[in-house]
């Protein structure tokens, strides 16, 4: 080893491209099953169509029977959920996971398609699979998110079903899950309180502003240990809400869609302020590690001279 110094990384971005401000935001729509993700995507698409500002829409749910919005890319064209279930002898959960894994193998093509059109649309919407853990607690989910986040300013819209959240325990559990997604994905995040035509989400906003109110709503029917815990948790969530943008929408009456667009713009700014630097750091770290690994491997490769006679003897011994 003549030169022990590390080779300098010459290519600054091998894994991703530099994300610039003129690129349109990508919105990843997440939420628990039945919270109305697809309807929200549909309503937002319809709203944008009205002003002839056509968005780019991707459906990532392989198990959905009918896509209710005009999808530009549909995962069901790439993988056949029923066939995967049959061919690999999988149950519904396993099949969704496998479909996402298969989709990952073609992810670069998908991103390439979006990138090619990126000057033509104001925003790209991605409807995630109904089973939320299939996306948040799987390797393919993070590969998809990271790949988009390295190409476009990507933000997350977390859809909450206001009608089901009238139970304070449900609401709290849902918010903790949202918080866990924030920590796992590390992307700008906004909450969509959906179905405002059924229940006015004002009570949720009240809970968000005043954690003691939520605390007392929960405390009525519970024992002391859990009470203590929920109290501490409401303190955690209080901090969570103070950093979050929240919008009230109704996918049925398309009320609040302008607010959604404003929230997306705000999150896009956040992406450049907080997330891009962090992401670039990570990229640099990974690159250095790769280069280090490559040079380690190179060190192991040596050209040696063999003595032909010894080789012959060895071979003769092996033959015996």
């Amino acid at each position: 080893m003549a030169d022990s110094s590390k080779p300098e990384p010459k290519r600054p971005a091998v894994l991703g491209n530099t994300v610039t401000r003129d690129q349109p935001p990508v919105v990843l729509v997440l939420g628990m099953a039945g919270s109305g993700k697809s309807s929200f995507v549909q309503a937002l698409t319809a709203h944008l169509h009205k002003s002839r500002n056509f968005p780019y829409v991707i459906n990532l749910d392989p198990a959905v029977r009918k896509v209710i919005f005009p999808a530009n890319i549909d995962i069901r064209d790439t993988v056949d959920y029923k066939k995967v279930m049959h061919d690999y002898q999988l149950g519904p959960n396993g099949a969704i996971m496998t479909c996402l894994n298969l989709c990952c193998t073609r992810l670069q093509e998908m991103i390439g398609l979006v990138k090619k059109r990126s000057t033509e649309f104001p925003v790209c919407l991605i409807d995630a699979p109904g089973q939320i853990e299939a996306f948040t607690w799987s390797a393919s989910g993070s590969i998809i998110t990271d790949s988009f986040a390295s190409t476009f300013p990507t933000v997350i819209a977390y859809v909450v079903d206001s009608a089901r959240s009238t139970n304070p325990t449900t609401f709290m559990s849902n918010m903790l899950y949202a918080c866990s997604i924030l920590y796992r994905m590390k992307l700008p995040f906004f909450l969509v309180l959906n179905k405002s035509d059924i229940v006015d989400p004002a009570f949720l906003e009240k809970w968000m502003k005043d954690y003691e109110e939520l605390g007392t709503s929960i405390e009525d029917a519970r024992d002391a240990y859990i009470n203590n815990l929920t109290h501490s948790l409401s303190l955690v969530l209080d901090e969570f809400y103070s950093t979050m943008t929240t919008v009230k929408v109704s996918s049925r009456t398309s009320e609040g869609m302008e607010d959604v667009m404003a929230a997306i713009e705000k999150c896009k700014e956040e992406y450049f302020e907080k997330y891009q630097p962090a992401f670039n750091e990570l990229l640099k770290e990974r690159l250095e590690k790769d280069v280090q690994q490559a040079s380690d491997m190179l060190d192991k490769v040596n050209v040696t001279e063999r003595n032909p006679q010894v080789v012959e003897e060895e071979e003769a011994m092996e033959d015996e």
Binding site: M32, A33, G34, A63, V64, R65, Q89, L90, G91, P92, N93, G94, A95, I96, M97, G130, Q131, I132, E133, A134, T136, W137, S138, D161, R164, T169, T170, M172, S173, N174, L176, Y177, C179, S180, I181, L182, Y183, R184, K186, R222, D223, I226, L229, T230, S232, L233, L235, V236, E239, F240, T243, E273, K274, Y275, P277, A278, E281
Partner: protein
């Protein structure tokens, strides 16, 4: 008293494998563990099943149903339908399990978070088990490969909390598949398990993300430090010791074996007159 572990966790976290391993471990330690499958959409598993809920109702039953609204339901809708059916017919489950005093059960549950937070079904089942004299401990499994840095670790703890706060029963969180981690990741995870969260936060190199959410992280850390409900236990199924350590903790939570009779291991008394030294 009867004893039960409620095995919960997202798809792919290793619930069925865990059940099989505990059952096998029980065979060698003289503990008869019965496993009940509670997931109507479950696939192949390799434990001996005392009762399979799919005998009561399964996703496939719906697909073959004459009623078109049932047979064309998506995966999520049919799971919810099945679980609600079970919750409404809980007596059938009681009869099918037919547990006797001092029995030890594992319940292999479905992982979907909605069943816990949005619907009452899992809570109904837990309450029913309690009323049948079961001491229950929820065992929340998470795949350790998704927990290799401090932020992801917190994400995992929050996921566990969002489920466990609904169930209101003693709980143990477990990091599965420790044997599959790379050695450097394994060291890091073990370090996180052995330290207080608030100390870890300070060790974490500052980034744009961590400074933006500094206050939030601190509050989460203080909850994790003060409630043992969200302290994780590593589990390596290759090592018997790792399994018995975990079981010890769970047994503590459900008071298993505390009122068991003392087992007399001495040989029965032999009458000295009969003992002539000849056989």
């Amino acid at each position: 008293m009867k004893y039960a572990q409620l095995v919960i966790g997202p798809a792919g976290s290793g619930k069925s494998t865990y059940c099989a391993a505990i059952q096998k471990h029980g065979e060698s330690t003289e503990r008869f563990v019965q496993v009940v499958n509670l997931d109507p959409a479950s696939e192949v598993f390799n434990y001996k099943c005392a009762f399979d809920v799919r005998d009561l109702i399964s996703i496939d039953d719906l697909a073959d149903d004459e009623d078109e609204t049932l047979s064309t339901m998506g995966p999520n809708g049919s799971l919810v339908f099945c679980m609600e059916y079970i919750a409404n017919n809980i007596e059938e489950l009681e009869q099918a399990i037919d547990a006797a005093e001092d029995d030890y059960y594992l319940f292999d549950c479905p992982g979907q978070i909605e069943l816990y937070s949005h619907m009452n079904v899992m809570r109904t089942i837990v309450d029913a088990l309690k009323s049948w004299d079961f001491n229950i401990c929820a065992v929340f499994l998470l795949d350790s490969q998704f927990m290799v840095d401090v932020d992801k670790f917190m994400a995992g703890a929050l996921t566990a909390l969002s489920t466990l706060m609904v169930l209101e029963c003693p709980a143990v969180c477990v990091l599965t598949k420790m044997d599959l981690l790379k050695s450097e990741d394994r060291e890091r995870v073990e370090h996180m398990l052995n330290s207080e969260m608030s100390t870890l936060l300070n060790e974490n190199p500052p980034s744009a993300f961590s400074s933006a959410y500094r206050k939030l992280s601190e509050k989460i850390a203080s909850v994790m430090d003060s409630y043992s409900m969200v302290s994780f236990q590593p589990l390596d199924l290759q090592e018997e010791e790792s399994i018995s350590d975990l079981l010890l903790n769970i047994d503590n939570a459900i008071q298993y074996g505390e009122d068991a009779d003392v087992k007399d291991k001495f040989p029965e008394e032999v009458d000295p007159e009969d003992d002539t030294g000849e056989w």
